[in-house]
């Protein structure tokens, strides 16, 4: 907890105490604490057409497992994963109806499968569905032998005999000098791995086979064209109310989820959803946008809207959400217990929200720090965080004719110097591009840095 948080909490606590002190007589109902709030409904389940599997609408993402020390298990190998806490998460999740766990050999520096294996070993096998991937991204894994070795190792780590859901991991991407088509060929076709996995499914080692997709739409189309042969049991796509119609505006490499979903629905292939909150951007949004949503449903968090939205699509099998803290698990479960589908009017409202968000070009940075350290000392996530914070607080002006231009300029510049020390600000980005390949969001970091730098420069020069 940093100082800012501390002060916030302190003032909140003081305020609460003050209120409590003021109204002792009026107290009619004792509230012991919000933590005692229990999920109010039942988990929703969706059925896989090919197998009849009942899958919980909320899936547990295993990309950011809890750690013993402060820090991210994704980033540093020496940060120990907290097995005990993970067990507690899994127990709570199972108890509240989650049965889908999504991992990969590459998550948490290669440790995710191992720890999930330990956690799930304690649970009766029929109570959970495990999904993992053939994550042969690195070129050294492109050979048939190495890929199969990776596949076999997943069984060992997860301590299971069958894998319920197996995915070709993130097709549509590029690798080094190879374009997306070549990469797809090298990873799964030329080495015969796709055929191998189909055989494994036939043998029953894999219960469902599918793929996850990011990037080049040609590969998505190509994979779906192979549906007659492969009989995909499911496909994992990025979808949320912004990506539905505006994926290109967020990231030119992406394709509208409307198209992806429609293609899957046409073939009766269920969709598994990743990035339901668009890297956290749909969990906290511009205050005036938040106010719009709050006006409709004052009780609901902003994130809940995004999750309810996805629940409204019948062909969505499960929505994956990464959970690092028990609070995340509880909150997610609470949200997904008894999902009410969005009404037509609400869908229109969300589209309006999406359009409003896109007018304010925040950077889709999730603060994962993969890009760091920048060899030139630039605090990349710090700069994006400040920029996005200013956007969300309405302190980024589109033009100097804006009503609150002076105030916004002041807040932006002063906050900038405080949030990021001068020698680590965007003007020190030389555009070497060392960070770009590390960004899981595919943010064009140098271009964004220059955009922010130009914005800062324009603000500074208009200072009187």
């Amino acid at each position: 907890m940093d100082r800012r948080d501390f002060l916030k909490r302190l003032s909140a606590a003081t305020a609460t105490m003050g209120l409590a002190a003021c109204t002792p007589a009026e107290k009619t109902k004792e509230i012991i604490g919000t933590e005692s709030k229990k999920p109010t409904g039942e988990m929703t389940y969706r059925t896989v057409p090919t197998s009849g599997d009942k899958v919980s609408l909320l899936g547990y993402g295993c990309m950011r497992l809890p750690t013993v020390q402060h820090g991210s298990a994704r980033e540093q190998k020496d940060i120990e994963i907290d097995q005990e806490e993970l067990n507690a998460h899994v127990d709570y999740a199972i108890e509240h109806g989650i049965n889908y766990f999504d991992t990969s050999p590459v998550y948490c520096q290669g440790r995710s499968e191992h720890h999930m294996g330990i956690a799930l070993k304690r649970i009766p096998r029929e109570k959970f569905l495990i999904a993992t991937k053939l994550s042969n991204f690195a070129q050294e894994y492109w050979s048939r032998e190495k890929s199969i070795e990776m596949y076999r190792n997943s069984f060992k780590e997860l301590q299971v005999d069958t894998i319920d859901y197996m995915l070709l991991h993130s097709i549509g991407g590029t690798s080094g000098e190879y374009n997306s088509t070549q990469t797809f060929e090298k990873r799964y076709i030329e080495n015969g791995i796709l055929d191998f996995l189909l055989e494994e499914r036939a043998k029953g080692k894999i219960r469902h086979l599918g793929f996850s997709y990011h990037g080049d739409i040609a590969i998505f189309d190509r994979a779906l064209a192979m549906h007659d042969k492969c009989k995909w049991d499911f496909v994992q796509i990025q979808m949320n109310y912004v990506d539905w119609l505006h994926a290109k505006e967020v990231n030119p490499n992406n394709t509208n989820a409307e198209y992806l979903y429609a293609e899957l629905e046409k073939r009766n292939i269920p969709a598994i959803i990743m990035e339901p909150l668009l890297g956290g951007r749909l969990a906290s949004t511009l205050s005036f946008i938040a106010a719009k949503l709050k006006a409709h449903r004052p009780e609901d968090s902003i994130a809940k809207w995004a999750l309810r939205y996805l629940g409204s699509f019948p062909n969505v099998l499960t929505v994956l959400s990464g959970m690092t803290y028990m609070e995340n698990v509880k909150e997610n479960i609470d949200t997904y217990s008894s999902v009410e589908p969005c009404t037509e009017e609400e869908l229109a409202l969300l589209e309006e929200v999406a359009q409003a968000m896109l007018r304010y070009p925040s950077v889709p940075c999730t603060g994962c720090q993969y890009c760091m350290p920048c060899p030139y000392g630039v605090n990349i996530p710090g700069i994006f965080q400040h920029y996005n914070k200013c956007i969300n607080e309405g302190n980024v002006s589109v033009s100097n004719q804006d009503e609150n231009y002076v105030k916004a300029r002041r807040a932006f510049l002063m906050g900038y110097d405080r949030a990021v020390s001068k020698l680590r600000q965007a003007d020190h980005c030389i555009g070497c591009g060392a960070c770009v390949s590390h960004c899981p969001q595919g943010i064009k970091i140098p271009a964004e840095m220059q955009r922010i730098d130009k914005y800062v420069e324009s603000l500074k020069q208009s200072m009187d």
Partner: protein, 517 residues
């Protein structure tokens, strides 16, 4: 009652003045200048340099009318001495008793002549070292401004915690131990003199005091002793900080009187009034006094102030050590993990130093700047610092390790009371070529490591830098900056933002005379 009123009025004015000037030196926002800038603009010597004729003529007129009020309520060094003298009287068990002393006429004259001569022949830095406002300025810059920074930092942090952006994080101060040494030397010297004898400095050393005394020696209104009421008790003389009341003969030497009004409030008989005087009580004018001295052939002791070299050295080192450790603590910032260490930039060896835009030329700054340090405290970009070279000692020079001379800023020019730095507007600044950039291929990471960079070209505010292939005709060869020195204004953006550390691959060489176009 009325007799006390004058003294209180003087104290109130002095306190307001002192606080204003201190605020000005401690301000990091640039706001204080708008409201308090006049307090330094009306300082006697700076107003002459800046050509503020109205200000310095009014000072002379007021002095001619009322005596050296200036020394009591406008000069910050004078007020400082009053504070020290007041402390002296508080701390001593027995209140210090001043006593009348003869005028140290020769010393006054020699220093005043030296001062005027230095000014006329531009023998920098004697002017700046003797001039009272600048002496105070250096003390404020080195000793008070850091405190101001700490307060500003605290305010920034607490206002941030409250989600408010009224106070900006202040820019760090470019600290100079040479300036600190000079400031401490004058501080200690003047403080000792003030502690023991009140306004000794003002009446023996201060050239402004001497010049004003010529106008004050027969001011229209001045403290006058009513011989009928006076009982020659000597109370007034014991209260006189300027040691200028000869109570035995009932005379006030108005050339040395600083109009503190203490004598008027001290006199139990109400014998002293601030009024016009009869011819009998007139202080002889300076020419007459000089003649008198020649006639008496009095041998004046002129070795009182020298022979302090040893102690100066000691003060320099001790002071530097103490303040040095305090400064590094307050300036050090800790960074969270995950950030690459930044090798701090070092100042390149420049053939010609860079002086701030608006200072016109080396010559102009030498002629006009009194090295008070106000511009250095005002610089929000950590660019200005006092020169530590002998020929430009303590005058402002620029370097770009921590920031560069931003196109939207002319705060140094706004605060400068002497006109040493003076810019009409930002357009003039952007047309002033204070230096030009020079490329050092050996340091360029684009050439050395083949990294695509171009940060210098991207940030050049005048578009003087373009990135061109390093091998002529080979478009794929690493790009290097090509500088159009005619366009370059020497702002230092390229030097500051160059990723090469500790020495940038592109740096600015100063111009002895600024080109404006």
């Amino acid at each position: 009652m009325k007799s006390k009123f004058l003294k209180y009025a003087r104290v109130v004015c002095a306190v307001v003045m002192m606080l204003s000037i201190i605020t000005l030196f401690c301000d990091t926002t640039g706001i204080a200048r708008h409201y308090l800038g006049w307090t330094v603009d009306i300082q006697f010597f700076p107003s002459i340099s800046a050509g503020l004729i109205a200000a310095f003529v009014s000072t002379l007129v007021v002095t001619k009318l009322f005596g050296r009020i200036y020394c009591s309520v406008i000069c910050p060094l004078g007020i400082f001495q009053d504070i020290v003298a007041r402390l002296g009287r508080l701390t001593k068990k027995q209140k210090i008793k001043y006593s009348y002393s003869e005028e140290k006429l020769w010393m006054r004259l020699i220093i005043a002549v030296l001062f005027i001569a230095s000014y006329l022949i531009c023998a920098y830095p004697i002017v700046g070292l003797l001039e009272p406002y600048s002496i105070f300025g250096r003390m404020a810059t080195t000793l008070l401004a850091p405190v101001g920074r700490l307060i500003a930092e605290y305010l920034a942090a607490s206002s941030e915690a409250a989600g408010d952006y009224t106070f900006a994080m202040p820019a760090a101060l470019n600290y100079s131990y040479v300036m600190l040494g000079v400031a401490l030397f004058s501080l200690v010297l003047i403080a000792i003199l003030a502690f023991r004898g009140g306004r000794t400095y003002c009446n023996t050393i201060c050239p402004v005091g001497t010049i004003l005394s010529i106008f004050a020696e027969n001011s229209v209104v001045k403290p006058v002793i009513d011989h009928d009421k006076c009982v020659k008790c000597g109370l007034c003389a014991r209260k006189c900080k300027a040691s200028c009341i000869d109570s035995k003969n009932g005379k006030v030497d108005s050339s040395r009187c600083v109009d503190c009004m203490n004598c008027i409030s001290a006199c139990s008989k109400g014998a002293i009034s601030f009024s016009t005087s009869s011819d009998k009580d007139k202080t002889p004018n300076i020419i007459k006094r000089i003649k008198d001295r020649f006639a008496k052939k009095a041998k004046e002791d002129v070795n009182a102030t020298v022979a302090t070299d040893e102690s100066k050295r000691a003060f320099l080192t001790v002071g530097a050590l103490v303040v040095g450790s305090a400064m590094t603590k307050s300036m050090a910032k800790t960074f969270d993990g995950g950030l690459a260490e930044i090798t701090e930039k070092k100042e390149p060896v420049r053939t010609d130093r860079i002086t701030p835009p608006g200072s016109k030329s080396y010559r102009h700054i030498k002629d006009v700047c009194t090295s008070c340090g106000l511009c250095i405290t005002a610089c929000p970009n950590e660019v200005l610092r006092p020169s530590e070279e002998l020929d430009s000692l303590l005058t402002p020079v620029m370097s770009f390790e921590k920031g560069y001379c931003r196109p939207e800023c002319k705060r140094c020019s706004d605060v400068c009371p002497t006109g040493a730095i003076s810019l009409a507007d930002l357009a003039e600044k952007s047309a002033t070529h204070v230096g030009h950039a020079v490329f050092i291929a050996d340091n360029c990471i684009s050439l050395k490591k083949g990294v695509s960079c171009g940060n210098c070209a991207r940030h050049c505010p005048v578009g003087a830098i373009t990135m061109a292939p390093s091998v002529i005709g080979d478009e794929t060869s690493p790009k290097m900056p090509v500088i159009d020195s005619q366009r370059c204004i020497g702002c230092g953006a390229c030097e500051n933002l160059c990723p090469s550390s500790p020495y940038s691959a592109i740096y600015v060489e100063g111009h002895r005379v600024h080109r404006i176009d």
